[in-house]
Symmetry: C5
Subunit: 366 residues, 5 copies
């Protein structure tokens, strides 16, 4: 059976095309990733507890004009391949060249870094479009005093539900809008970490299915699926594990841009991240178990095959020998002339068979 | 043989239905767990060294009226699905929204967290209703200056024996009632951790039984049971391990709500938790051993099967060949006309067999 | 072959009968262990550099009267099942209820704990009565300013040699008696740790024997013995490992009851403990190796069995076929009438066999 | 099949010829490595934001004369076997004897060490000349106040692109030249670490190819390649892992020669190093998986071989027995004289075969 | 094949004869080791930058008289079994009883310990007399203000080359003699650690040889050699690993007897020790690989054996059956009378064989 190829490693591992950068000075902005979309746009959501303004454009200038210092300004950029756009925004907010470089390198591991007037935070969103493949998208955040920049590889994100909440007006519905930019930052990170649970659930279901298969009818396909799953867990771990460290830095409360009453919320996200990591570890143990089970299952089967062969051979080989003896053509073979020679031989043969069967019963092979 | 299905992973691992929460602001109270009971109720035990008052109601208001500040007030809530009830209690005691959320999420890992006027503590009770399945119930505690809240998923708990002690009156019998709320908190946590030993004992007995099976008559069922046990140890570990960290936080004496003379008691619970964890690690090693043993046992059996086959085949194949030779129909085969040809052939056959048997004896196959 | 049962796990692991304690308040004294002896007694050795007084009684009162504050008072209690006796002594020395509880729980892990006026220290003595089974006895020490309490499960201990030294009188022989209670404490702990080496030596000898067996003639018994050894190492490790931490606490010099010039002696015991632990780790690696060796040995044997089968079958199956051909009864088979048909067939058969044998020689199967 | 030898271990591991040094005092300069080139030369690039001077000679004196204290002086030495040359430079810059020794020992692990007026830093460049073999070259740096020494084993390096940038003149193109020597140091280390990604990519591609082979047609060659890869990962890890620690020392900001605004750049290199290490760990897991897969693949194949044998034997052995029975020469065998005896036997034989085939279908062996 | 016995474990592991010590007070001097030599002697090298005096005697008194306080006095003792000699030297230098005990216990793990006026340091020299066996000798150092004591188990050491350097006189050749006792101490430790590389190199060569064997012609001997190597690595690791900690203590600069300008030299030895340990870890990985390879190699071979058997059996079993059919003696077998019956059967047989061979070619078994 021709099995589907496992996802190419070089794509998954995130080490593409570093040569392009060789010799370039740090801070040279080059998009290092797959171009996932043609479009690129900037949109702004600017709010305070009173109202909310939304604005969207393909040009950074238009959007940057709309920023107002007393409100929370959420600038979202879709499409990192538009380096010029990113550069203009970077210049406006005075982003450090290394920060800009990290935004454009979509294969960065999750991390948090404090700059003089900003916090940089990058992590991965996981999408599980089909049941099997997991797609990774990098999202980077830059938190300033009254703004939050979010850089996404392509349009479409997990934040639509939250945007709807922000848009709600009316008495008692402005709670989400009454807090500062660090709370907005928390809400977006929280949404992403929560979405990891959906992936965990799907992976858990696949482990369940594979466990049943291994117990019932393990095929080569089963092994292939176990291996595929093992790989995915390795990459999931690689994606989520550094997030723990990044969030830990924030929860320690050393970043002055994160207000004290927002800290417990980040502790909460941190707890969820630990939970996700522990679950991944548990999955890993379970999938390792699965491989062992598969091996044992194959050994058990081979044992069974051997038993059938041995039983058949052990019963019939002596019988065939007896038949062979009386098929010899010696002139002087007295038994051949006995009247009951033939039935006697049958008797011997049947007795031998029964003895064998009893022996195998005793050995619990039957 | 059709083996019983292993418990569904997604249920055990505690990652159900996170989608329901997506987009909800933190602090939105949703019960995230299985509804284990229909009932929900609040009961209060309020005591000091002098007397004890008990009160039980389905309404939180009735109970909250009975609280008196100079006594230890133990408010126990059964049935987390009654979100409104939880919410009323939360408001009365001014619980932080994230604390409330953790109470309602029955899939939380054990943890201790200090809030301004409270300590939040959550852990799992383990029940071993049948011999095989372990059931997890989450219990959360909120310790305040003169009160302890305990949130349980369903009615019925391990604390009945302790309640009886509290109720004892008479001279010299009020020792349990003469201490403050943090001591009450300790007693309940201690009771839960002590109950883990019952689970450990049952698991130990099952390992004993499986070891005997593996040595004597390993079947496919044995392997299934070993795997089931391995899984359970993985989940037990996941349940107990974070408790160590949570208790460690308390024993460090940084929480001002835990009085200095209660600290040694928490050190004691901490020691027990370490003991439980070490025992789980030992079990893990033993069960890994079991799997190795099972594999070796199968290999040994296959070896034995192969030996029987080889002995039978090796003895009879040459004999059958000899019989075949003298079954040929050549016109000129002098041996066929020899008078003692037939007995001579028998002689050769028997001699060959004996030679083989001696060879096998030397090889220690027989 | 019916192999002897491996020691029951629940006995070894030390998690017996915790139910008896459920609901009891901490400090309720219950003996939790196996009653190893019927007797119970208290003996006192009270000495200074000048003289030594010994006293032994079944009643604690008699002994406690003999204590004198200016001397080193070593109170040794045999038989923990006599709870009343322990309780009286505990009350006299004002021992903390949790300390008392730990003394009576013979399944405690080694630990050191400082109380206001005492240091509590508990560890295991290992006896190797037969060559195979290791017996664990718990010894707890309570060190006070001028006294040392030692609690043993049963009479008979490793300290007899040291007692003889204490009893020696005459010039220059009072060195052991000229130091304070913490030195006495050190000497007893040192004696116990030294005795671990005897166990290590016996275990080492058993590994040697098993290695020879695995190389020469591995049987099912060998595997059983390896497993037994593996288990014992797991339990030994569990017994000795926490001792490291306990001694480390003492060597840090934070306990004021341990004088500064006794500290180097405790460092020395600590070094020995590390050595014991490292040796146990080495043993563990070696025994894991043994299991691998056993598996390889079985595979090698199976390979050999398969080769014999294959050689026999491969040589004789074609020959039997040839014989079968000329055993057919077709009327028109010209070869049958050839004069040299029969010798020719023999020639073909012999040539085939030789070809096969050469082939196997080339393959290095012969 | 004769497989190519795996690279000799003693060469890879870097423990050659230590005997040569025995008895020599520390600081005796001996070149310990393979002489990779015949040539040896010193070249100097001296620049400030205004201009750039380049100078190259075989004699150290010529070059050292050209140094000017107010500029950044980059002295690059190719060919470590010219000990005299190294010694002269060492004397001029007052290098510590141990530093000199480390420069000449090409088998040193990456490390950073601060001396009074210099920072010493050594690491490996990896070249992947063919697709399979990785070549290691050691580069050592000595950073002083206004100079950077770089010691290379042979001519030719990764810095040519950067040299071209330095040489660029014209307005706005002197950015690279406007910073101090520590920035130059960073740029060179950064270039080397970036080049590791090319190796990672090639290794990733080889894992991909091997995974396909293992799934499709694993041969002995595949196993050989997996082992070769495993070895290379072991050595890569050994090469890169200590770099983490070395860079960590620099990023902590304790070295006064690294200016504060250069630190973020070193943090960036540090992040890349962590990424490289994590990727190596992932590769390790994947290659371990590959070996498991290979083993399972072999077991599966053996199983298949066994099944074919068992099916053939089990079908034909009974048939051959039946044929043998009616080949016996008894005088009284009534069946032989039956008119439809022969077709009846064929009927029995065919029925038996069909029964067997149905049995195997049920067992899913066919 | 009778393989040579692996070195006895109890000898290697260093846990001999602890019983002899039981009951002895600490500080009782007993030699605990194997008596490797009959001789015992003390030699003194006393030098300053001006001159050097050497003196050798069997009596400690003679030597101790020669000590002069203003010079570096290196007192070397060969033969630890001469307890009296050791004791006299110990008394003269006022060594702590525990230090004396550690000197005499040749099974001590490497360690550094600071006493009031001395530093005690013990480690192992490794000799590789034959190619296979590694011999361990313990060397202990006691560093004082102006003296260094070195205790060796037997005469003959690695320091002869260094002694020759010390003896060199003439201008510019007294560099080695111009430094203080801590530098002497460093030089001796450095010499020992450097000698570890010779062992590493030999072990590396053996791994190379075994790798070739495993790929080409693995025999039972190969497995035995791998196991032997594995054991040796376990013991090497046990010997070298604690040295890291011991040297780390010195390099921290807390020992006042080690002067500040000697510290970099100890850092250098520390680096070498880390290198040795990392190389041992790499070897461990490689030898583990070897075992896996061996197992796979055996599986591959078994597979090949099985294939030959299956091919032979599968081709000939049906042919033998056909021959058997026409060997039956039924009266009515029309084929027997056909003119071309016999050639037709041959035709069928050949066709069947060819079909089989094509089938096996497709399966890639041939």
């Amino acid at each position: 059976m021709q099995l589907p190829r496992i996802n190419r490693l070089t794509k998954l591992i995130g080490i593409k095309n570093p040569k392009a950068k060789a010799g370039m000075p740090p801070g040279t902005l080059i998009f290092m990733g797959d171009k996932l979309t043609e479009k690129s746009q900037v949109d702004l959501i600017s709010y305070n507890s009173g109202d909310i303004i939304e604005f969207c454009s393909k040009s950074s200038e238009d959007v940057l004009e709309q920023l107002s210092p007393d409100r929370v300004n959420w600038v979202n950029i879709d499409g990192l391949h538009n380096v010029k756009l990113i550069e203009e925004i970077g210049e406006h907010f005075k982003l450090h060249p290394l920060l800009m470089e990290d935004v454009l390198n979509t294969e960065h591991r999750p991390k948090a870094e404090e700059y003089e007037h900003q916090i940089f935070f990058t992590l991965k969103t996981l999408y599980n479009l089909t049941d099997v493949d997991i797609t990774y998208e990098q999202i980077s955040f830059v938190l300033g005093k009254d703004y939050l920049l979010s850089f996404q590889e392509k349009e479409g994100d997990l934040f639509e539900g939250f945007r709807d909440r922000l848009r709600q007006t009316g008495p008692g519905k402005n709670r989400a809008r009454s807090r500062s930019a660090d709370y907005l930052f928390y809400r977006l990170v929280d949404t992403i970490v929560d979405s990891y649970y959906i992936i965990l659930e799907k992976v858990g279901e696949r482990i369940d299915v594979l466990e049943d298969e291994v117990y019932d009818e393990p095929t080569k396909k089963t092994l292939h699926d176990i291996q595929q799953l093992k790989r995915e867990l390795i990459f999931l771990r690689k994606t989520v594990y550094p997030l723990r460290e990044a969030l830990s830095k924030i929860t320690k409360g050393e970043y002055h841009l994160i207000k004290k009453d927002t800290l417990p919320f980040f502790s909460d996200v941190y707890d969820h991240t630990i939970h996700v990591i522990e679950t991944l570890e548990t999955y890993r143990d379970l999938v390792t178990n699965l491989t062992d089970m598969y091996m044992t299952s194959i050994s058990n089967k081979m044992n069974e095959v051997m038993k059938v062969l041995t039983i058949m051979a052990t019963i019939f080989i002596p019988l065939t020998f007896i038949a062979g003896v009386y098929g010899m053509n010696f002139q002087h073979m007295p038994e051949l002339n006995w009247k009951y020679g033939y039935p006697a031989v049958w008797g011997i043969m049947i007795a031998t068979s029964i003895a064998m069967i009893i022996y195998f019963k005793r050995k619990k092979w039957l």
